[in-house]
């Protein structure tokens, strides 16, 4: 089981939230700005039109007073005194403009038609880049005379342009601020999520006391609280479980340990008995022989139990030394008197490891092969790209496929009928020891062909340093 962190880009949700904030703010602000701009424009234009028309009405009244007696020039002068507009008078078919840039042709056609119908009318137009509201009407009492007034709306349009600029800038600022606020808020909102994610991961990695800070009274606070409740429950459960497991293992260790004292006595008694077997009466001899053998088996079993409970406790020290693997294996074979039954093929492989553990593993594998494999046991020591290996092969009956995965389990016996001499713990101990050395034991087997166990050991990888450093108390 590998708890791999899922492939989520952490910033993605944050970016989405930021974008959503900016977009919402942008749309709202645009609608608001556009709406207010249009309203203001309408209001200003209407206002300008109303004022212009009112002025025009007054102007036309003035025209009807001044024009007939004093003529167009006097009227223009009177208008000029009134200020802020230009005038084009059409009197008796001729045009009298108040400014040189204006004339009859600048008066829009549509307006003239409306004026011709006798109405006071207006129209907006541009003359020489200046925007005007043009009003016009007939001068009463003088018949066909017409007066047109050009009210400049430049200022109004400039104001509107300024307003638009301000609104656009405001819009931009609003969007930027919203995006910033969104990012900030997202970060603040999502920080608990990131924290929870980290916390969940460290929980998964076994740091059971991991908790989340409950610092806010919002949904995240509630979430953190329930996360913590879950972690509490998990911790309680796992602690209880591992305590139970530890108790169980301690019990095994204690049992093995307590068995040791009577067992030592029994082993002693058996070996004293063994010296006298020859002199025993025949009917006592066989039970005595069996007793001596069985005491040996019991001793092996208790020693294996003690070793496996030590391995379980994880307190086993590795005492690394420089090891010549070939010589070590050869010596292990020799020490057990197996030279005649094992074909040995060694190469010089030097590594730093714990020779006593390697010896134990190798002796177990060879012993197994001799017991179950029978004949043709061959042992090969060498090194390949992966590391060093000791390969123990036999041409025995092999191992059934369904047994292979369970072979290294404790007390697993492939053939329940075959009691064998082993304790049922040998391979489990071998594997645990191999792993303690940073190596492994793998198995290949084919029914009817034979089986092959391979101890693999790292060559270059430094070992976990154990208590073996008694001698290394000085700088080397």
């Amino acid at each position: 089981m590998t708890a791999r962190p899922r492939a989520i880009q952490p910033g993605r949700l944050r970016r989405r939230l930021t974008l959503a904030f900016a977009l919402t703010a942008g749309i709202a602000a645009t609608a608001l700005a556009a709406g207010s701009f249009l309203l203001v424009r309408e209001a200003r234009l209407d206002d300008s039109r109303d004022r212009s028309l009112e002025q025009s009405r007054f102007n036309l009244v003035l025209a009807s007073e001044v024009l007939p007696p004093e003529g167009p020039e006097a009227l223009l002068e009177a208008y000029e005194r009134r200020g802020s507009f230009e005038t084009v008078l059409l009197v008796d078919g001729s045009s009298f403009p108040s400014s040189l840039s204006l004339g009859e042709e600048q008066v829009p056609e549509d307006l003239r038609r409306l004026v011709a119908d006798g109405q006071l009318a207006y129209e907006r137009t541009t003359v020489a880049d200046t925007r005007y509201l043009v009003t016009g009407g007939r001068v009463s009492r003088s018949g066909a005379d017409e007066a047109y007034f050009f009210f400049s709306e430049e200022e109004l349009w400039d104001d509107l342009a300024a307003l638009r600029t301000i609104l656009l800038a405001g819009l931009g600022i609003v969007v930027v601020v919203a995006a910033l606020a969104g990012a900030l808020l997202a970060r603040r909102m999502l920080a608990p999520v990131a924290r929870a994610s980290t916390a969940a991961r460290s929980l998964a990695e076994g740091l059971l006391d991991t908790r989340l800070p409950v610092e806010r009274a919002d949904e995240f606070g509630a979430w953190a609280a329930s996360f913590n409740e879950m972690a509490d429950a998990l911790e309680t459960k796992i602690t209880a479980l591992s305590e139970a497991q530890a108790r169980e293992r301690r019990f095994t260790a204690d049992v093995a340990h307590e068995l040791r004292t009577p067992l030592t006595a029994i082993v002693n008694e058996a070996s004293l008995l063994a010296e006298h077997i020859e002199r025993m009466p025949p009917d006592a001899r066989r039970p005595a022989e069996l007793l001596v053998t069985d005491v040996g088996r019991l001793r092996d079993l208790v020693e294996d139990l003690m070793e496996i409970s030590r391995l379980d406790a994880g307190t086993q020290a590795v005492r690394p030394e420089r090891v010549d693997l070939g010589s070590l294996v050869a010596a292990a074979v020799r020490a057990r008197g197996w030279e005649d039954r094992v074909r040995l093929e060694t190469a010089e492989v030097v590594l730093t490891s714990d020779p006593r553990r390697i010896e134990r593993i190798v002796a177990n594998l060879i012993g197994n092969a001799l017991e179950h494999g029978g004949r043709d046991v061959s042992v090969r020591v060498g090194a390949d790209g992966v590391g060093a290996f000791v390969e123990v092969a036999d041409r025995g009956p092999g191992i059934a496929r369904e047994d292979l995965p369970h072979l290294f389990e404790r007390f697993y016996k492939a053939d329940p009928a075959r009691t064998g001499h082993g304790t049922g713990l040998g391979l489990a101990i071998a594997l645990e020891n191999a792993r303690l050395l940073g190596g492994d034991v793998d198995v290949w087997a084919e029914p009817g062909v034979g089986s092959r166990f391979t101890l693999r050991l790292p060559v270059a990888k430094p070992l976990r340093d154990g208590e073996g450093g008694v001698a290394d108390d000085e700088q080397a």
């Binding site: 002693n268 030590r310 086993q316 006593r356």
Partner: protein, 226 residues
């Protein structure tokens, strides 16, 4: 004359059978059931070697070991309940020479006892060795440093002699176990490490920075040529 062994063991069955086994191997055996009795017997009788259980009522094995070492260099073989924990190392540091783990075979114990007695028995032939202010006299079975006699146990003396006879040579732990402790195959390397430590404490000027017996990392030890 057979060696006299003091067997200290609280379990009556183990005490009796072990005693029988040692007697069967030709030793004279005195037994003690607890630490106090052990020290009493040790003072009363001429003991050549002590087989000492570490877990004892009254006075535990460590105390007995420490007490004996205050006055005597007699070989001590411990009976240990576990070989993997520190108790063996503690025992060795207190001056025990060797140990056997329960459950042990009588033959194994007898072999360890014989090896320890052999180390302690009598003189070695060989010329005097002098390195700096350290002098070793194999036939006198003693070593002096700056004229003062060193208080070495038999094991420590044999170890020193073994190393000093071939200065500059690197001894692996296995070789030392074989030569000094008479292990035929893969003994506990901590025996060597602890004995070297104890030896350094007695022969080095500054035991924390040994100049005489140096560690060759990952290999073993070397006695420096003066």
């Amino acid at each position: 004359m057979e060696a006299r062994i003091l067997l200290v063991e609280d379990d009556p069955s183990i005490r009796e059978t072990t005693s029988l086994g040692l007697a069967g191997a030709g030793f004279r055996v005195t037994t003690a059931a607890d630490g106090r009795e052990a020290l009493l017997r040790f003072r009363q009788e001429p003991i050549d070697l002590v087989v000492l259980d570490l877990m004892l009522p009254e006075l535990d094995g460590y105390e007995v070991c420490r007490e004996i070492r205050r006055t005597s260099r007699v070989p001590i073989v411990m009976l240990s309940a576990r070989s993997d924990t520190v108790d063996v190392v503690v025992g060795l540091e207190l001056g025990a020479d060797d140990y056997v783990t329960k459950p042990f075979e009588l033959a194994e114990l007898v072999a360890r006892v014989r090896a320890a007695l052999r180390r302690a028995s009598g003189a070695e032939a060989g010329a005097r060795i002098a390195v700096g202010d350290l002098e070793i006299e194999p036939d006198g079975f003693q070593a002096t440093k700056a004229g003062r006699e060193l208080d070495l146990t038999a094991t420590e003396f044999r170890l020193l002699l073994e190393l000093a006879r071939r200065p500059g040579h690197v001894f692996t732990r296995e070789l030392l176990l074989e030569r000094v402790w008479n292990y035929e195959y893969l003994g506990d390397s901590r025996l060597v490490d602890v004995a070297v430590q104890r030896l350094r404490a007695k022969v080095e000027d500054d035991p924390r920075h040994p100049a005489l017996i140096t560690t060759v990392r990952g290999v073993g030890y070397r006695f420096e040529r003066g």
